[in-house]
């Protein structure tokens, strides 16, 4: 993936993104296997439960690092705009879903889905901004 761009900051971001993604898969599989086979309790259970989340926090930090390291101010502007659209979209979707859950008993939205919703909206926003500034 890093061969797709000459931009050093973007290459570093892609590398960090894939490392955190691999860690996420590794931590998730580990947590599931340990919980299924060993039924951990106490601090170990808490630690295992948050391991996949730590990888996702790492992914968010990787994007923050990219914005800090990117020398091309226009690319920073696109990154920030797509992030803001995605944050606004995620807040809108989840607050609407929350009221629907409360009033018309719509199926419960698991909090674990908030980050994938953010990622999907961020991808859509980034694509639309790329088209706008093509």
């Amino acid at each position: 993936m890093s061969c797709l761009t000459k931009n050093p900051a973007q290459r570093r971001y892609f590398r960090r993104f894939f490392v955190t993604m691999l860690l996420y898969v590794l931590f998730l599989v580990t947590a599931v296997l340990v919980f299924v086979h060993h039924h951990p309790t106490g601090p170990l259970a808490w630690l295992l439960a948050i391991l996949p989340a730590l990888a996702i926090i790492g992914q968010i930090a990787a994007f923050g690092l990219y914005l800090a390291e990117e020398k091309d101010e226009f690319q920073v502007a696109i990154g920030v705009q797509s992030m803001l659209w995605a944050i606004g979209g995620t807040l809108s979707v989840t607050v609407v879903w929350g009221f629907l859950e409360g009033f018309v008993h719509l199926r419960h939205l698991d909090l674990i889905l908030v980050y994938p919703i953010y990622c999907a909206l961020s991808g859509i926003a980034f694509g639309l901004l790329q088209l706008r500034y093509k």
């Binding site: 931009n7 020398k71 091309d72 101010e73 226009f74 690319q75 706008r132 500034y133």
Partner: protein, 64 residues
């Protein structure tokens, strides 16, 4: 903000990619500035002015 980037580039026979390389930004950034969709920061505007041997007002025009 209106600008004379296209004219200045043409005078030197530079493509958007040539200018982007000289500014160390993406071609997309040059296109966005040239078409007035993105206003550069002061440091980038000064860099452009130095590159074309003029001042900022020689490239950008305040529309207000």
């Amino acid at each position: 903000m209106k600008n004379r980037l296209r004219v200045l580039r043409a005078e030197r026979d530079w493509s958007q990619a040539d200018l982007a390389d000289r500014l160390e930004v993406s071609r997309q950034s040059v296109n966005a500035i040239e078409t007035g969709k993105f206003d550069p920061s002061l440091p980038l505007a000064f860099k452009l002015a130095r590159l074309f041997g003029t001042n900022i007002e020689g490239i950008f025009t305040d529309e207000s």
